[in-house]
Amino acid sequence: MLAKRIIPCLDIKDGRTVKGVNFEQLRDAGDPVELGCRYVTEGADELVFLDITATVEKRKTLAELARKIARHLNIPFTIGGGIRSVTDAGILLDAGADKISVNSAAVRDPALISRLADQFGSQFVVVAVDAKKVNGEWLVHLNGGRVATEHRLLDWVKESENRGAGEILFTSMNNDGTKAGFACDALAAVADQVSIPVIASGGAGSMEHFRDVFTHGKADAGLAASIFHFKEIEIRDLKKYLADQRIPVRL
């Protein structure tokens, strides 16, 4: 049986792992490659690295980071942050990235998803979607949740799938950083809407939250950052707990 995946996410700024609450108030959480290796040893199934640095040198530093990660890690990883073109993505593939994630650039130019999928295959393209519930409606947001768009969540994930996305990484901005649990209802709606895997993100605070996201939330993978970085939950303990709950995990 296909295992549910546990994915630590590392936000990178100027070469360091950082973590904020609701995309703000950043705390330092160490060297990304070292932290990544620790997660591999602890049983992480995959890793996501998102570069939130905003500099002109970014494209080069992101490729260097991808190469360093690919050299050291023996599990798959996704890298993202400011990828705007097939050229940007190609550099990361050459550096050894297994998947790339696109977010704002895909919203601004949806055809980018099609171009990436045509060039590199759907398995390489993760569409990251940040959404917030506004007046009862889930709307896609940009720039780390600060800018609202007119895209409805369910329409946008369907369009992403139709254009060739291989996976959806859905972050609920309402839940992110709260440690109060994932947005399970919205996640289940997303999972029902598409036939590609859905990675749940935003709100993990306890082991029960992961159980809920794999059952009620119908997610294929659960992603979290600070609870892993600051060792509030150990991945190994989490997977043992999930196995006891009869959720298939790789032990």
């Binding site: 295992a3 690919a70 023996n74 599990i75 050894g96 398995q123 895997p197 294929d220 790789r250």
Partner: protein, 197 residues
């Protein structure tokens, strides 16, 4: 020992190079038929689409090179599928080294996602040197929308939607549908056994 990874512009070949590096093996990426033919072992990796890739392999002569290999050769993912006879992906005639067919997954329930992405268990059908150090039920990392049917040359299976070939062997040709280079310690054991053949 000379290990050559066939570099044919398809997908993430560098991760195979890095994986070998981690187990202390130096390999070379090459698309040169002479270098490939003279290697002690050849790895034929692949992430991509069957039809275009086969067209490229035929155009460059690599198809004939691969068909003629006598040394241990390991096909990975698309590499495994292309060793087969035929693929439903783009209705493609493949290298026809292993007489099996490649078919598209068809979901029979809404919770069956395609592609098959993630860690799944491999079970052994036949003894093969590649899995000497592995345990039945070991988890390996898969990413694919097409699968090789079960058949005489199936050495390991995986069950997703239906049981399919997770690994094959015919003579000097070995193949895995999963990515040993991305399958953690389980994958490293398999790569080491391939190098030790």
């Amino acid at each position: 020992m000379k290990i050559v990874i066939i570099d044919y512009n398809a997908g993430n070949v560098r991760s195979v190079l890095f994986a070998l590096e981690r187990i202390g093996v130096v390999a070379e990426l090459s698309s040169d038929p002479d270098k490939i033919k003279s290697a002690d072992k050849v790895i034929f990796p692949g992430v991509g689409e069957a039809k275009n890739t086969m067209a490229y392999l035929r155009k460059t002569g690599l198809a004939e090179t691969i068909r003629g290999l006598k040394q241990p050769t390991l096909g990975i993912c698309l590499g495994m599928q292309l060793l087969c006879e035929y693929s439903e992906e783009g209705n493609t005639d493949c290298l026809n080294i292993i007489p099996l067919k490649v078919k598209k997954f068809i979901a029979s329930a809404t919770d069956q996602k395609i592609p098959h992405v993630g860690w799944n268990k491999i079970m052994f059908e036949k003894s093969t040197p590649l899995f000497k150090k592995n345990q039945p039920g070991d988890y390996a990392y898969f990413v694919h929308s097409y699968y090789v049917e079960k058949g005489d040359y199936t050495t390991a299976t995986c069950d997703y939607i239906l049981p399919f070939s997770a690994a094959l062997q015919k003579d000097n040709f070995y193949a895995t549908q999963f990515h040993p280079e991305k399958s953690g310690d389980v994958g490293e054991l398999i790569l080491k056994e391939f190098i030790n053949l």
